[in-house]
């Protein structure tokens, strides 16, 4: 006999994601038969706003597209404008940008660890990881003046040079974070509860992953070795030594292990950046922002964010304002077409786990 189907509204407030997004579930018993993503709770029309603002005024807007990790947005817009304009960026600024991007990746992974283990019922990890993330936010505060939204990377370089003694503070924080990782292993990754909840759940089909537009840790969790930092090195990633970790399985566990290994790589990258960072200029000055005409042209640039390929398609018509800035966040694909598909057959209690492992961030979907 066919079980009666019930509709379950999961969200918009729930532990699965950072932000508000609703998933309408059709369930039979506690198994999901159909899932539909509903967004629109965080739509602030950033892309429309940017069409009415100058290029410089767009920079404080784009960072708001992703709360856990705003820097790839700034870097993408900056690089797109530089590509259209043909503007050179000083070497020192490129190293500083990589440092900021990797710090923000670490901060995003700490937030993810909190969310992921929180959804599995391990409530100590969020307390720890949010606390440790704060040490990185302290660094951001000293460097940029802002803890969450930095507005630091802009066209031509970065907004200011490193404060005195900043490099030592970064290295100290890295040592601290590195010493904490084994503790997280004990508490989260080696924990039987987490392993039981993560292994074999939310599996992405390896053969279909590329075609479905899966990127970032979920792709590498399928055992496919692709990373924008290696495929199309931007800034100074081609001068740095790091590996791209992969893991087989395509489940929540595989994605968690990829992220765990990437944290070590990020720490190593930050150390290399600080060691190799040259002196000199940090900003190739743009004209007065109110009189800054970007020549006509278009560019598609992409960054490897903590959740995968983050792309910007920017079109300029030669005026003071952007013609079009279109954002491609990894969650646009992960949170709608992919999520709707892999939720089918899952258990209701695993929905939040699966969403978190994909890194769904609704502001990227609706922008």
């Amino acid at each position: 006999m066919r079980e009666k189907e019930t509709t379950l509204y999961f969200g918009p407030q729930h532990p699965g994601i950072t932000g508000n997004m609703m998933v309408k579930l059709k369930v039979a018993g506690d198994t999901i038969v159909k899932a539909e993503t509903h967004v629109g709770y965080l739509h602030r029309a950033f892309e429309k706003l940017m069409e009415r603002r100058t290029w410089m005024q767009s920079f404080p807007i784009v960072c708001r597209i992703c709360v856990p990790e705003p820097d790839p947005n700034e870097e993408n817009l900056a690089r797109a404008v530089e590509e259209i304009e043909g503007r050179e960026v000083p070497e020192r600024a490129k190293y500083i940008r990589v440092m900021v991007l990797e710090l923000s990746r670490l901060a995003a992974y700490f937030l993810w660890m909190g969310g992921q283990s929180g959804t599995a019922g391990l409530y100590t990890v969020p307390q720890w990881s949010v606390g440790d993330r704060d040490y990185i936010l302290d660094l951001f505060e000293e460097l940029t003046g802002g803890r969450i939204y930095h507005m630091y990377i802009w066209a031509g370089g970065v907004r200011r040079d490193l404060p005195e003694g900043f490099a030592d503070k970064v290295l100290k924080t890295m040592d601290y974070i590195e010493s904490r990782l084994p503790e997280y292993d004990k508490l989260m990754f080696d924990n039987a509860i987490f392993q039981k909840r993560a292994q074999g759940i939310g599996v992405i089909d390896k053969d279909k992953a590329l075609e479905w537009g899966v990127v970032g840790p979920p792709l590498r969790g399928c055992g496919i070795k692709h990373d924008v930092r290696k495929d199309e090195p931007y800034e100074v990633y081609d001068k740095l030594d790091f590996v791209v970790p992969t893991y087989e399985g395509g489940d929540i566990w595989a994605r968690a292990m990829v992220r765990r290994k990437e944290m070590e790589q990020s720490i190593s990258i930050i150390r290399q950046v600080i060691e190799k960072m040259p002196g000199g200029e940090y900003y190739n000055k743009v004209p007065t922002p109110l009189n800054w005409f970007v020549p006509p042209g278009e560019a598609y640039v992409k960054t490897e964010s903590a959740r995968g390929e983050f792309g910007y398609y920017v079109v300029s018509d030669g005026s003071l304002k952007p013609r079009r800035v279109h954002v491609r966040g990894p969650a646009y694909v992960h949170g709608v077409s992919l999520l709707e598909n892999i939720l089918v057959g899952a258990n209701i209690s695993d929905v939040a786990m699966i969403m978190n492992s994909l890194g769904v961030c609704p502001p990227e979907i609706e922008r």
Binding site: V39, G40, H43, A45, E47, K48, L49, E51, R52, E83, L210, E211, W212, G213, H226, D231, E232, L290, E298, Y300, K302, E309, G311, Y313, V315, R323, R324, H326, R328, Y332, V333, V336, S337, L338, I365, E366
Partner: protein, 195 residues
């Protein structure tokens, strides 16, 4: 110089040989731009995916060229094998905005098409899920069209907070209330003065 772009130039040649009317050119390393007639887009995308290994639909964008009365649809494809991004562009009529879906090639295209249906009013035939996506109960013209005036819309639909009817400059209000002097640069660079 050409040695650096062997892969890119080879792909461009292949495209030109198969689609004679396609305008394909190199943009920079790892980037090619292909311009096509709109009726050739579905066969071209299918060809690019199956024969040129462009298996990843990285992005799908729409630009409103209101002065030409056209929408530009931009498919951004990526080939993991060749490590090339192809920016495939076509223009469609803005008044009678209709196009065909490509969700049978990449199912994530469905989401993009839903968004463009809502934001630009483009109807994608073959996509049966062009339902409400981001907006709720929207009854004005599609908001991402360039002729949609955000300022006028907000004036018509929202009221000003009491005490702010004349849209005063916040800085002037602060000066009046506290007697605090504003530094000159704030006035120098205020947007209002620009006009």
């Amino acid at each position: 110089m050409d040695k650096d772009f062997i892969n890119e130039n080879k792909t461009i040649e292949e495209i030109k040989n198969t689609f004679h009317s396609a305008e394909a050119k190199l943009q920079r390393k790892n980037r090619i731009i292909v311009k096509l007639r709109s009726d050739l887009i579905p066969p071209f995308l299918s060809y690019a995916k199956n024969y040129l290994s462009f298996d990843h639909l990285a992005h799908f964008s729409c630009v409103d060229w209101i002065e030409d009365n056209q929408f530009e649809l931009v498919y951004i494809l990526y080939s993991y094998e060749k490590n090339i991004i192809a920016i495939v562009k076509t223009r469609i009529d803005r008044e009678k905005a209709e196009f065909v879906t490509v969700k049978h090639l990449w199912r994530q295209a469905e989401t993009f098409e839903r968004e463009f249906h809502e934001m630009y009013g483009i109807n994608f035939t073959g996509n049966n899920r062009l339902t409400e996506f981001i907006l709720e109960d929207w009854d004005d013209i599609p908001p991402m069209r360039r002729d949609f005036d955000t300022m006028q819309y907000s004036k018509e639909n929202f009221y000003t907070r009491p005490g702010r009817e004349d849209a005063q400059d916040v800085r002037e209000v602060i000066t009046k209330k506290s007697g605090e002097k504003i530094p000159d640069f704030a006035k120098e660079f205020s947007v209002r003065k620009l006009k």
